[in-house]
């Protein structure tokens, strides 16, 4: 009986450690922060352009900003210290965000320049895609806060489907700050505390 209890205890212990190791954060959150800042900047440019009727090509600004984002992402992927532990969930998250990033870039540029998607609809579609990414990430990290972030993006996307004036830029900038930059900061702090020095 004692041996059975010990064996069960060990199996439960193994299960707990395996679950904990699946929660290892592979991302320090910097990517979220950088991309969030770049897109927020783009939204601010757009708002100022249309508010003051300035004559500059907003799409050129987006090409520059998104290029900076992708250069940063590839640089950190290849040069930065690798994840401290690559769980299977972590692998999926990595590929999820890469694919969502590619999807958003395609929607934003090919969608716009082909004429298939109107400029005022791009933010809405991107918000919906980000909602999906955050929702899935919350499931993989088992982190309810990100689920809320995902739902917020979906709600923001729905709102922006009905808002076509310059307010849309402010809505997207707001979403980017609270739905991308803030989660990135929280993720950064969580990542750092996860691997704090042992006493």
């Amino acid at each position: 009986m004692e041996e059975e209890k010990q064996a069960l205890d060990e199996l439960l212990f193994i299960k707990k450690v395996m679950q904990d190791s699946q929660q290892i954060l592979i991302d320090n959150g910097m990517g979220y922060i950088v991309w969030g800042l770049l897109v927020t900047l783009g939204m601010i440019f757009g708002y100022i352009k249309y508010l003051f009727q300035l004559q500059f090509d907003i799409m050129l600004a987006w090409v520059v900003l998104i290029s900076i984002g992708w250069i940063y992402s590839f640089y950190t992927y290849y040069k930065k210290e690798k994840p401290k532990g690559e769980s299977f969930a972590g692998k999926i998250i990595k590929h999820l965000w890469f694919s969502i990033g590619v999807g958003m870039t395609i929607v934003g540029f090919a969608g716009y320049y082909s004429g298939a998607i109107k400029g005022e609809h791009i933010s809405s579609i991107i918000a919906i895609l980000l909602g999906c990414a955050y929702y899935l990430t919350s499931a993989l990290y088992d982190w309810k806060y990100l689920k809320l972030v995902g739902i917020t993006w979906w709600a923001g996307g729905i709102v922006m489907f009905y808002v076509f004036d310059i307010t849309q830029f402010l809505i997207m900038a707001f979403l980017m700050f609270f739905g991308q930059i803030v989660p990135g900061i929280i993720l950064y702090r969580k990542y750092k505390s996860q691997f704090s020095e042992a006493k």
Binding site: E3, E4, A7, L8, E10, L11, F13, I14, K15, V17, M18, Q19, D20, S21, Q22, I24, E81, K82, K84, G85, E86, S87, F88, G90, K91, Q194, F195, A198, K199
Partner: protein
Amino acid sequence: MSIFDYQQIDDVIHSRIRLAVMAALIATEEIEFIALRSLTKTTDGNLSANLKKLEEAGYVSVKKEFINRKPVSSYSLTSEGKSAFSAYIENLERLIKK
């Protein structure tokens, strides 16, 4: 008569910290020392000693490299380690089903 044969217990794995290390490694492909220390909630010295024992048994392999000019050790299970861990789990399950 007990069907549990104490001689089948793998002494190498049968330790709280080494069991935690094996469980963590079975769930991840590769894991750094610092992450293992966080998961096992132990000290550097204690973890190093236990990892050495697992390495000597051939259950764990280590990869040492420099990242940002800092030495980093990453651990992964060998095929022998995976088999040993599977056998260990089977023994535990057999004991519970008794």
